[in-house]
């Protein structure tokens, strides 16, 4: 069938950009990558893009379709073509463009290298056999270890757009892959390093990385886990950590968020003195409740019980962010299928295998 694309071409030497439209004949099963291949073969051999495995595992073909990052090999074109929409294909964001759809990934890898991306096991002699670790203790890094380093999350990262030095979702997810690994002995050093400026607390929580990740790594969740682990380890000097901590303290003690105290608790008393005039203005317009006496919620007991429960269950670190990876994937499955899962041998399905008789042939 006919499939059309508009592609942002870029010639780095001439510094020229141009939006070019292509229409090709492609099979119904074609992915975006297949269509690009047809364009390159039959229309314009100078088109540049990366590709390799075409099965969503090598991470080569990250690019943008209509402004959002996708893996070209994962993106089926038939519905788009049938709707008559002509998608715009462009290079990923937050990385310099080399040519057409090819970006310079060096800034990406530089950040991966910045999180000490290898196991720091704390032993010299590892012993004769493998480390004994239960599956349950490895499960918390299941999602992080799915990362294929395609760059789709980084392409969409709003924090990185504002601060190019921000470590970013891929590197921080890689960091969590080691922080959550029971074999790694550098957890505290890692959390201290990741908690510095341009680290964990500079994420704006826009969740674009979770949304665009083609492998379900959920980098924002990984960043949340790092934050929770950092606070659990008492690594909380960053304003972001203090801010988060005050939410908890405030809810635990009074059941409310005491906004008046939020600023000094986050920024420190000295810095917040500068905000006094602004705060007085807010107060005058009734926007700030009086700080004393503290306003205690009627059912504050419930809030305190919740706090204690999380502590008793040992969910005050990363475990509090995601209960269990397996539980989650099962929840996702139930969400997809509804409460009433189909019978795998139901009338719409292929028949169950025939039993095998004593002679060996099917009966």
């Amino acid at each position: 069938m006919k499939m059309a694309l508009k592609i942002w071409r870029y010639d780095a030497i001439a510094g020229e950009r141009a939006l070019k439209e292509y229409e090709v004949d492609a099979p119904d099963w074609a992915t975006l990558l297949d269509v690009l291949d047809i364009v390159k073969d039959k229309h314009d051999g100078t088109l540049a893009y990366r590709k390799s495995c075409r099965m969503m595992i090598c991470g080569s073909c990250g690019m943008r379709m209509d402004g959002a990052a996708v893996l070209a090999c994962q993106t089926r074109m038939v519905d788009i073509a049938e709707s008559g929409h002509v998608p715009v294909i462009s290079a990923m964001g937050n990385m310099p463009i080399v040519k057409d759809l090819v970006v310079d990934m060096e800034p990406f890898w530089g950040k991966i290298r910045a999180v000490t991306p290898s196991l720091q096991p704390g032993y010299v002699d590892p012993g004769e056999k493998e480390n004994i670790v239960s599956q349950e203790r490895m499960d918390p890094i299941h999602k992080e270890s799915l990362c294929i380093m395609c760059g789709c999350c980084v392409s969409e990262c709003n924090s990185m757009e504002a601060d190019p030095d921000f470590l970013g979702p891929a590197a921080l997810a890689k960091g969590m892959r080691f922080v959550g690994d029971p074999r790694d002995q550098a957890k505290v050093e890692r959390l201290q390093s990741y908690s510095q400026e341009h680290g964990i607390w500079d994420c704006t929580r826009c969740y674009f990385c979770n949304e665009r990740c083609p492998k379900g790594v959920d980098p924002r969740d990984a960043i949340a886990k790092l934050g929770a682990e950092a606070i659990k380890e008492g690594i909380d000097s960053d304003m972001g950590a203090k801010h988060a901590k005050w939410f908890v303290t405030s809810a635990k003690t009074t059941g409310w968020l005491r906004e008046t105290e939020l600023v000094p608790k986050t920024q420190g008393v000295a810095k917040s003195l500068k905000e006094v005039k602004f705060a007085m203005g807010l107060f005058k317009h009734g926007k700030v409740p009086p700080p004393v006496p503290p306003h205690v919620a009627k059912h504050v007991g419930e809030s305190r019980a919740l706090y204690d429960l999380v502590g008793r269950q040992g969910r005050d670190g990363a475990a509090g962010i995601v209960q269990s990876e397996h539980a989650l994937s099962r929840l996702e499955f139930i969400q997809e299928t509804g409460d009433d899962p189909k019978d795998p041998y139901g009338p719409d399905s292929f028949p169950a295998p025939l039993p095998i008789g004593e002679e060996g042939a099917a009966t």
Partner: protein, 560 residues
């Protein structure tokens, strides 16, 4: 000569990175050259696992592993090499775990192992169904830790031969353009396979046999080139891999009558027979009209939601994306697809070729541990164990020998050849030749082979090679000129196809992946228990034979 190293590794998949790490740790100045970033390498697409007799799921030992491998190879594997692989495998897997590989675990916290085809014990260590992905990333972590320099996105094109030694490579810089000559005391080829010779293949676009042809052009022999493995479970239309791990976990193969047809072909092992046996069974069913649209069905439904989500989530993702089928509810349509080249650059057990200074490891090499048919899970193991051995040997040799010379004439010849190609403006672009090659190889050199089809394929490949002499590269630019590199890749593939046909015609028997049911249906140990060896002489392949090394296992009838 632009730079010099002790050891240059061409290709940075599992074998290449493992070799580089070993050479680095042995004290050599090592660099990797790769046309794609290391983690993009196709080792990462390996799914099911890596075989080592760890004995975590049953009583097992390296000797059992070796016997299964010898039998699986249809006795064409060299038994000394197989014994080395199976003996060193357990420690090599433990080392990967110590480096941080995220393996799946048993109840008692050890590395989990699952049953795999033609293996007498559950021996395949795995990380769900993304084992290759986990290994490639752990190896790259170790590469980053050592800060091993990588010529990333440099397309290796020619080996430098001087004074009877391999002394480096000449590579095209994809990002910036231009040829670079990289001098090296030793060069390790680790470029992987050549699945792109076929339309339906599990292999990545990058798998174009570069290293095999570079060696061939340097006068080094290729061994057992007729032995292309067809994997029994690949998705139509393009051949995306569905792991053998599905069958390891208990999946069934069904024909259109919902019959587990393997009962007629491998009544004992059933779905866990060897790959060559199952691919032939599937093709027979499909040819007899008992398939569905050219496929048979892989049924996971009885495994249940939990097992599928936990151990086969990647498979579910692939079948939903590429076949529109959720394996929890529907069987997956699958068919045989080109998967793995047992053949490759002829090496000894240290990866050394007949050319001093040149080594090969991984799929590009033919040691041979796989013979006529590779067992699932043995490829990743080979990349690690032989990657390590080759890295060590190359480093030791390099540290004992000093000079490197890249003659100016080698650079000038490469420049001239490239200019001729780029200056050509009239003619055919390569894609049609590439497609015709892959389609005809599939028809004429597939699961079953006929004499007349192989002869015809030889003629086709020769005419494609003539057309290739006049191809035009449309992109004349310096920056990311993949039009150029794809043309060079096609050149590599065409020469390999010719070697395969010559080897296939010479082997007048049926053994492992080389099945000739119409004229030579049986294995003929008297005449063909030996390797085919091809060298390039005067623009054409020349065939010779080489004995198989036997240690303790005499050929027996092979049934599953």
């Amino acid at each position: 000569m632009d730079t010099v190293h002790d050891v240059v590794v061409v290709g940075a998949g599992c074998a290449g990175m493992r070799a580089a790490i070993e050479a680095f740790d042995a004290g050599a100045n090592v660099a990797m050259v790769s046309k794609i970033h290391p983690v993009r390498s196709h080792s990462g697409a390996a799914e099911g696992g890596i075989n080592a007799a760890l004995g975590n799921a049953s009583e097992d030992d390296p000797e059992k592993h070796a016997f299964d491998t010898v039998k699986g190879s249809d006795y064409l594997g060299d038994q000394d090499a197989i014994e080395i692989l199976c003996r060193e495998a357990p420690d090599d897997v433990y080392q990967l775990e110590h480096w941080g590989a995220v393996f799946s675990r048993t109840e008692d916290g050890r590395i989990a192992q699952r049953p795999f085809g033609a293996a007498g014990e559950p021996r395949t260590a795995y990380a769900a169904d993304i084992t290759g992905h986990v290994l490639i990333h752990v190896l790259y972590e170790q590469v980053m830790k050592r800060d091993i320099p990588t010529y990333e996105e440099y397309f290796a094109w020619k080996l430098v031969i001087d004074d009877g030694r391999c002394q480096g490579v000449i590579a095209w810089d994809l990002l910036r353009g231009g040829l670079t000559s990289i001098g090296a005391k030793t060069v390790i080829l680790a470029t992987g396979g050549a699945g792109r010779l076929y339309t339906g293949t599990t292999n990545a676009y990058a798998c174009t046999g570069d290293g095999m042809t570079m060696a061939l052009r340097a006068g080094v022999a290729l061994k057992d080139m007729e032995m292309m493995q067809f994997h029994p479970t690949t998705l139509a239309p393009t051949g995306v891999l569905i792991t053998e791990g599905c069958r390891g976990e208990g999946a069934y193969l069904l024909n259109a009558q919902a019959e587990r047809f393997l009962v007629h072909y491998a009544p004992n092992a059933m779905e866990l027979a060897s790959r060559d046996v199952i691919s032939r069974a599937e093709q027979t069913e499909i040819d007899a009209g008992r398939g569905l649209d050219g496929n048979v069905l892989l049924d996971l439904r009885h495994l249940g939601v939990e097992k599928i989500l936990e151990r086969l989530h990647g498979t579910r993702e692939l079948s939903m994306t590429f076949a529109g089928v959720d394996p929890i509810y529907e069987p997956i349509p699958v068919r045989p697809g080109a998967h793995y080249h047992m053949g490759g650059v002829d090496t000894d057990v240290w990866g050394l070729t007949s050319l001093e200074g040149l080594y090969a490891a991984g799929e590009v090499a033919c040691v041979s541990v796989h013979g006529a048919n590779r067992l699932g899970g043995n490829a990743l193991m080979e990349t690690i164990t032989f990657g390590k051995r080759v890295g060590r040997h190359a480093a030791e040799w390099s540290l004992a020998n000093t000079t490197v010379e890249v003659p100016a004439s080698a650079e000038a010849d490469a420049e001239r050849e490239l200019k001729t190609l780029l200056d050509r403006t009239d003619g055919e672009r390569p894609w049609k030749i590439r497609d015709e090659l892959a389609e005809t190889m599939h028809v004429n050199f597939g699961v079953f082979r006929r004499e007349e089809q192989m002869v015809e394929q030889g003629t086709i490949v020769q005419s494609l090679r003539e057309r290739f002499e006049r191809v035009v590269v449309e992109d004349k630019g310096e920056v990311f000129n993949s039009d150029l590199t794809q043309a060079l890749e096609l050149g590599f593939l065409l020469e390999l196809a010719e070697c395969m046909v010559v080897s296939g015609l010479a082997r007048k028997e049926s053994r492992g992946a080389h099945a000739r049911p119409y004229d030579y249906p049986d294995r003929d140990d008297e005449n063909y228990l030996r390797h085919t060896v091809v060298t390039w002489k005067g623009g054409a392949p020349e065939l010779d034979w080489k004995p198989v090394t036997m240690t303790k296992w005499q050929p027996q009838e092979r049934t599953y």
